[in-house]
Assembly symmetry: C2
C-alpha cells in the first residue's frame, strides 16, 4: 500500500492534461503492452497488445462475451459445479446453459460433445477449476480446442487465480495452445492485487477485437486513467512480480494452515485435502450430510462458507463446503476452524438428539 500510494502521488504530480481526457476504450497502449508481456512470460499467452481489452472486472469480461457472442437459444457449456458469476452474466443473454460435469481432469469434454455438440461457447476455468480445484489435463485441453475448431465455437478461459500456484510451474494457458483463434482469455487484478482496484483484462482473437471494442465503448466508454497508470508503473518497475512471489508464499502457508488445522480439529467432520494452487479448498462432509444445513450452522457461528450444492446444477456426488483461506492469517484460520467444528458438532447432536 505504501508503494502504491507513492506511485499514485508521483503520477498526479506529473500528470498531463491529455491524461485527464477520455482515452482509448481498449485501455492505454502502455498498460496493454505490460499485460501482454506479463501474460506471455507467466502464462504462455500468445497475444499482441492490440488484442488486449482492459476492463473493470472479469465480470465485465463475461458480460461483454455474453452480449457480443451469444444469441437467445444458443447452447453454452458450463462447468458443473461452476462459478455463479459466469452463470449470472450468461443467463441474461437468453442462451441455454448446459451443465457439463467436471472430474479430476477438469471439464468432461466428451460429455459436452454428447450433450451439446453444436454449442456456441464453452466457459472453462482450466488452471484451477472453480470450485473443485482440478487442473485441466493436456489431453482434455487439446480435445476441447479441437472441438471448438470443428464446431466454430468459442472458448472462454477464465484464469482468475492462476498466479496462486504452489507446487510447480503451472500448465501454460489454453490460449497459448490455440492455433485457430477460438480462445478468449480473461484475467483480473482483483485477486493478485486488490478487488476495489477494478481492473481486469480480456485477451481476444484478432477477429473479435473490433466488435468487442465497439461493445465496450457503448456500454461504459473506457477504463479510468489513474488506476491504469499506477498498475502500469507497478508492473514495469518490478513491484508486481515481487508482490506475486510474496503472495504465493503467503497463500501457500495459509492453505497449509487450513489443511493442518482441519486434520487436527475436524477429523471425521470435514475432510480437507491440499491442492496445487488457488485461494480456496473444498472440505468434504460425510456422505449423506446436508451441506446447506452445515453452511447455515457455520454462519450462525460467524464462519462464511458456501455449500457445494449451491454451486451445482445437478445433484453433487458428495456434500461439501467451499472454504476461502487466502484472506486470513493462520491464527484466524485456526479460530475459524474451531468455530466451524462447533457448528458441525451442534448439527450432529441435533440430528442424533
Amino acid at each position: 500500500m505504501e508503494t502504491w500510494g507513492r506511485i499514485a502521488h508521483r503520477r498526479w504530480a506529473k500528470t498531463s492534461e491529455a491524461a485527464l481526457d477520455y482515452g482509448d476504450p481498449q485501455g492505454t497502449p502502455r498498460l496493454r503492452r505490460a499485460i501482454a508481456g506479463y501474460l506471455r512470460t507467466a502464462r504462455g499467452v500468445d497475444a499482441a497488445p492490440e488484442q488486449v481489452l482492459v476492463l473493470s472486472s472479469a465480470q465485465q469480461a463475461l458480460d461483454l462475451v455474453a452480449r457480443v457472442l451469444l444469441d437467445p437459444g444458443d447452447a453454452l457449456w458450463m462447468e458443473d459445479p461452476g462459478y455463479p458469476g459466469a452463470r449470472g452474466a450468461f443467463v441474461a443473454s437468453g442462451a441455454r446453459l448446459v451443465p457439463i460435469p467436471v472430474d479430476e481432469e477438469g471439464l468432461d469434454v466428451a460429455k459436452g460433445e454428447q450433450l451439446a455438440p453444436k454449442a456456441r461457447l464453452a466457459y472453462v476455468t482450466p488452471s484451477h477449476q472453480f470450485p473443485l480445484g482440478a487442473t485441466m489435463s493436456l489431453p482434455r485441453r487439446l480435445r476441447l480446442l479441437e472441438w471448438a475448431h470443428r464446431a466454430k465455437a468459442w472458448i472462454v478461459e477464465d484464469d482468475y487465480d492462476s498466479e496462486f500456484r504452489y507446487v510447480d510451474r503451472p500448465l501454460a494457458a489454453l490460449q497459448g495452445l490455440d492455433t485457430h483463434g477460438r480462445v478468449l482469455y480473461a484475467g483480473t487484478f482483483s485477486k493478485v492485487l486488490f478487488p476495489s482496484l477494478r481492473l481486469a483484462y480480456l485477451v481476444l482473437p484478432p477477429s473479435l477485437v473490433g466488435a468487442f471494442r465497439a461493445a465496450r465503448y457503448f456500454s461504459d466508454g473506457q477504463p479510468p486513467a489513474a488506476s491504469q497508470a499506477v498498475v502500469t508503473a507497478f508492473i514495469e518497475e518490478g513491484h508486481f512480480e515481487r508482490h506475486i512471489r510474496r503472495m504465493r508464499v503467503l497463500c501457500a502457508e495459509r492453505q497449509k494452515a487450513l489443511v493442518t488445522t482441519c486434520a487436527r480439529h475436524l477429523a471425521g467432520l470435514l475432510h480437507v485435502a491440499p491442492a496445487d494452487g488457488g485461494m480456496n479448498l473444498v472440505g468434504w462432509l460425510p456422505e449423506g450430510s446436508d451441506d446447506r444445513a452445515a453452511a447455515e450452522a457455520a454462519a450462525r457461528n460467524e464462519v462464511e462458507v458456501i455449500p457445494l450444492s449451491a454451486l451445482s446444477r445437478r445433484r453433487t456426488k458428495r456434500p461439501g463446503l467451499f472454504l476461502g483461506y487466502s484472506a486470513f492469517r493462520p491464527r484466524e484460520i485456526e479460530e475459524g476452524a474451531l468455530r466451524l467444528r462447533d457448528a458441525l458438532l451442534s448439527l450432529r447432536r441435533h440430528a442424533t438428539g
Copy 2:
C-alpha cells in the same frame, strides 16, 4: 490537480484493509450521501442516498437503462437532433427509436404523444438540449411528466452539463417535479471534473433500485474504491463547489470568446449566437450549405466540428456545425476560428469556381 493528488496520497496513507475489498455495488454510502446532498442543493433533485447508483459513466447509466427497462420492439422517444451515445446504448436493446423533433422549448411532447403515445421511455436533456441548447420550458416539463404518469412510461433525464449555466440559476431538474416516480436522473463527473476519472451516477425511483443494483452487479460488479474516496473528500471539503464556480467563469469567458471571434471573423459564413449555458454552441451555415462538406473542410484545416445533420435522423431545417469551446483558451479559440474561416472560404471558392 495538486489538490487531487494530495487527497489521493492522504487516502492511500490511511486506507484500511476493508477499503481494498469489493465494496457496495451501488457505490460507497458516503459518496452516495455526498452526491444526493449536492444534487438536492444544486439541482433540486429529491432523492435519498439509497436511490443513488454510482457508475463509471453516463454511458453506463444509459446502457443499464436499456438492459433493465427496454424489450425488443418497445417504442422509445429520442430527441431529434440528439445525442449519438444514447442512440448507441438504446439501439442494442432492439427497441424502436422514434425521433421526436425539438424546438426552442426542448422536446415537442405533443408530437411525441402523437407519434408514439405508448412509448416505454423518453430520453431527454432538458437543462441544455444536446445539441441545440434549448432549456425545456416548464409547461413542456409538466406535460412530459403527465404523459409518463398516464402511459406508465419512464423518463431518462440526462443532465450531463447542468453545472455550466452562465446567465441565471438553472431550472431545477425534472426529477424534482416528478411526484409519481417516473424519472431516472443521470449525471456525470466527466464534464465538471475530468473524463478519465470514470465516475457518474444514476438516481433511481425507489421501485427500480433492486433491479438496477442486480443488473449492475452482474455487468461489472462495483465502482473502484480509490476514486470514490477522493471524489467524496473533494465534495465534503468544499473543493468541488469552488471548482464548479471557477469552471463556470472560465467557460462563460470561452463561450464569449467564441461568439465574439465568430462575429468578427466569420460574418456571412457562420452565425454563432450565445447560449445560457453548456460547453458547445451551434454555428449556423447559410441556407443550402452542405454541413458535412463544411466539417470535412474544417478537419483538413485541423478544426474538429460535428455537422448537425450527423446528429439528426430527419432532414435538419438548417445546416449547422456543432462547436466545442470549453476545452480551449481564448487565444486557441480565435486561432481555430480563423482556420475554420479559411476552410469555409475555400469551400465557397470551390463551389463558385
